[in-house]
């Protein structure tokens, strides 16, 4: 696993709009050396909020990288590297559903997203089991959750902001999906 000295790498924005964002987004954090990779995969993770009988507590497996800006930045790199962006674009979706909104077909918890990546999902999400090492999956989880503001945005670069000059006020600043949006939910995306 490569470790980088800076917690946040912001590319020099090519145009003016992105600049302020990137600067604000940068924060240093403790650098962790030789951290042990997180424990094994979550097993009995609920994909449904429906529980028959009395409600049981759901024991969450915490994402060890949840608040790591470094992990988030690495997750962003891996998001491109493993071609996640090919289907989910920069969070807005394409072949796959968007990740920057507040709709989570298979759950938004870190362990839900972890399982979605390794197990795959029936309508097109491939199974990456055996393809991505577990620590990298957790980094991807951190980044994916940051797209909709579920984790802090501190680690994200402003990589794509410069592309949106002509399009106006595109905001990658977390999920504030207007309740009154025109988008029907992705109920046909299992």
């Amino acid at each position: 696993m490569m470790l980088r000295p800076l917690a946040c790498r912001a590319r020099t924005p090519l145009l003016l709009v992105g600049a302020a964002l990137a600067v604000v987004g940068c924060r240093r954090e403790e650098r962790r050396f030789r951290e042990s990779p997180p424990a094994t995969t979550p097993s009995a993770v609920r994909v449904s909020a429906l529980q028959p009988g009395t409600m049981a507590d759901t024991s969450h497996m915490p994402n060890p990288y949840e608040s790591s800006a470094y992990a988030q930045s690495e997750g962003q790199r891996l998001f491109g590297w493993y071609n996640c962006a090919g289907c989910h674009a920069n969070g807005g979706g394409g072949m796959g559903p968007p990740l920057m909104d507040d709709e989570w077909i298979y759950g938004s918890s870190p362990e839900n997203i972890y399982n979605t990546i390794i197990q795959g999902r029936p309508n097109g999400m491939p199974s990456f089991a055996g393809k991505i090492p577990s620590p990298q999956i957790w980094q991807l989880v951190t980044y994916v959750r940051s797209l909709s503001g579920l984790t802090p945005m501190s680690g994200r670069s402003a990589r794509t902001e410069h592309m949106n000059f002509y399009q106006g006020a595109q905001s990658m600043q977390g999920a504030q999906t207007p309740k009154n949006s025109f988008r029907p939910p992705a109920s046909e995306f299992p």
Partner: protein
């Protein structure tokens, strides 16, 4: 128009851009510190509710320089590649024509004729009475994704093939004011196929031949079912989703062979056309689009017209290493057939990945047209429209086989309106380009050199990794995408449905992982000049220019239909099904269907002798992905940049999947 006047107009446009920014909430004021106007300061609208100020300052000198430069360059460049001004149809002059089969009132293949012209000789519905057209019955397909397919009518039965899950319905037309289902065939494709289907899970329709309905499924099965009973006759798997392959095209049957090709140019797929035996479904030959001549089926009969397309194993040597194995050139568009020459014509798709720096060379035979002998698959000629394609300019668009008066003689040509923005008119026996004229605004190239067949690229539009290139026109879906044109021998015009989109793009390093996207490009699209995103162009091939043009706010993503009643039908992405005058483009009639239209209109004679017109309503496809896939408009790069240009579509239409059938009272 003088250059000076053009510059004034361009500066005027710059002012409009400023006003647009203002309308979107940007505040801007001049930064006149020492009494002189020095710069504009833009303040982002979100500043109002955020703790820090997002603003940027544009020095006025820079602004002036850039604007003037852009305006000047724009003007110079556009002179060469702007479509010619509209003209009235040439009434007295010689016009294009075609030899027609006898009209049987049926519609047995997506384009009706082997020549691919989508023209019906039915003439009950005319430019005079089409205003009385009304829906007579409707049929819901149970599927919400993009419906690009053409319905077929054979033996008083209508056949509808849906997008994934590729349900095939047979509807009985003999019952009057409804059409009960005779049978439904469910191929049960693998749901995972949806994950490798770039740009929605569409299908462009089945084909009828020899008592069978034959079609492709998204998970790469070619299936023949008995047209009368729906019983499966054969089912051949010809591709693998784990390699990124899918199938969306409409097969063509020629001489007891079913011709099919694959999709997946954005997934590192190697393209091919296969011929399957009509009786058994076994594969008779496979012609790859890339690789050695032995696999491209290039042999002794191969005689390209231009030197650039000649040479041994160009499908290997115009690539680096083994890149041709994942280089695209898929075959997901239209196939035409000339029985006299015994040649089939089809185009190949873009090379992969989109990022051109990762694939030095001409990348043959991507973005090309092949003429092949269907008996053996042998290539007879080929022509590469866009060598080393930079912008996803597939070559898969339709080839209409017609006869055109050209310089004093009648030439047997194919008309190919390409994604790169030119209508190619080629001698279909030899592959010679007779003319290649722009039908949209083009900034990426400067025309086709008819002497050597070369496309003249504009160097500044060739971006490198990490570099943003602006104002790429046409955008990646091209001047025109898959949506097929029609031709009327009565007017001599080709009716092109198309878009008017430009884009900015930025190359990225693409990482090949089988079964995942292989693109390497961030793209953001926008409306082209004029601001309208769609057009219907009546193209006069004899004159090499548009006879007339209609503009549409949204891309015209449906096919067109021309009839002997001198009516042209098409649909819009906000759900209007429209009829216009084939001669003048005058709007004659429209009806609002339930969802956006991206299907192929067709017409038939019912068992009652009346003429009917049918269209699928159901928005989707690449242009409609924002609705069909519930994409998030805040990411301009979503759906390969298409979402940026279609942000308003969700407010204009909703998902659906319904057949509408119309008739006169």
């Amino acid at each position: 128009m003088s250059v000076a006047r053009e510059q004034v107009e361009c500066l005027h446009h710059s002012l409009i851009i400023l006003l647009c920014l203002a309308a979107r909430g940007y505040a801007f004021r001049d930064d006149a510190r020492n009494g002189r106007f020095r710069a504009l300061i833009f303040t982002h609208p979100m500043t109002l509710r955020m703790s820090y100020e997002r603003r940027f300052r544009v020095p006025f000198r820079f602004l002036l320089l850039v604007t003037l430069a852009a305006c000047t360059r724009e003007d110079v460049a556009s002179r060469a590649r702007e479509p010619a001004a509209p003209a009235l149809p040439a009434s007295g002059t010689p016009r294009a024509t075609v030899t027609l089969d006898a009209e049987d009132g049926q519609w047995t293949r997506a384009a009706k004729s082997l020549s691919g012209i989508r023209y019906s000789q039915l003439a009950q519905i005319t430019a005079d009475n089409v205003r009385n057209l009304r829906p007579v019955w409707t049929f819901s397909t149970s599927v919400l994704r993009g419906h690009e397919e053409a319905p077929l009518v054979v033996n008083n039965t209508m056949y509808i093939l849906t997008p994934y899950p590729n349900l095939l319905y047979a509807l009985d037309l003999t019952k009057g004011d409804s059409a009960p289902t005779k049978w439904m065939y469910n191929p049960k494709p693998q749901s995972e196929a949806q994950g490798v289907a770039c740009c929605d899970v569409v299908n462009r329709g089945p084909v009828f031949a020899n008592g069978s309905i034959i079609f492709n499924t998204l998970d790469n099965h070619v299936i023949a079912v008995d047209a009368a009973t729906g019983a499966e006759k054969w089912n051949t798997k010809v591709g693998e989703i784990n390699n990124g392959e899918t199938m969306t095209m409409s097969p063509l049957v020629v001489k007891n062979m079913v011709l099919v090709g694959n999709s997946g140019g954005e997934m590192g797929v190697r393209g091919w056309l296969k011929a399957l035996d009509l009786g058994s479904g076994s594969v008779r030959w496979t012609a790859y689009s890339t690789g050695p001549d032995s696999e491209v089926l290039i042999g002794a009969r191969f005689k390209p017209h231009y030197p650039k397309d000649r040479g041994k194993d160009l499908g290997v040597s115009t690539w680096t290493g083994a890149q041709w194995k994942i280089g695209g050139g898929t075959v997901w568009g239209w196939i035409s057939y000339d029985p006299t020459l015994n040649l089939v014509y089809y185009g190949t798709a873009n090379p992969g990945p989109w990022n051109p720096d990762q694939r030095p060379g001409d990348n043959k035979w991507t973005s090309s047209i092949f003429a092949r002998d269907p008996d053996t698959g042998e290539a007879v000629w080929a022509y590469q429209m866009s060598p080393h394609d930079l912008h996803d300019y597939d070559g898969v668009n339709e080839n209409l086989l017609i006869d055109v008066p050209w310089k004093g003689q009648t030439r047997h040509v194919l008309i190919h309106p390409d994604r790169n923005g030119y209508v190619y008119m080629m001698d279909r026996a030899t592959g010679e380009v007779l003319s290649a004229e722009p039908f949209v605004h083009i900034t990426t190239t400067h025309g086709v050199d008819l002497a050597n067949g070369m496309l003249r690229y504009e160097p500044s539009k060739h971006g490198r990794v990490g570099e943003v290139v602006r104002d790429i026109c046409p955008a990646s879906p091209g001047g025109k995408d898959w949506q097929p044109s029609s031709f009327s021998p009565r007017t001599g015009l080709v009716y092109l449905p198309h878009q008017n989109l430009c884009q900015d793009s930025e190359g990225l390093e693409a990482n090949y992982i089988a079964g995942t996207p292989y693109v390497g490009m961030n793209v953001v699209m926008t409306a082209g000049p004029g601001g309208n995103r769609g057009e219907l162009t009546a193209w006069d091939p004899a004159a090499g220019r548009a006879a007339w043009k209609l503009t549409e706010d949204l891309p015209v993503w449906s096919g067109t239909l021309a009839t002997a009643g001198d009516v042209v039908f098409y649909g819009t992405m906000d759900g209007w099904f429209k009829a216009v005058d084939a001669r003048t483009g005058a709007k004659l009639w429209q009806y609002k269907t339930g969802s956006g239209i991206i299907g192929q209109p067709m017409t038939y004679r019912g068992p009652d002798g009346k003429q009917y017109v049918a269209i699928m309503s159901g928005v989707g496809g690449w242009a409609g992905a924002i609705v069909a896939g519930n994409l998030d408009p805040r990411d301009s790069t979503a759906a390969l940049g298409m979402v940026a240009a279609m942000k308003d579509l969700p407010s204009k239409t909703t998902k659906g999947g319904t057949l509408y059938v119309f008739a006169l009272p």
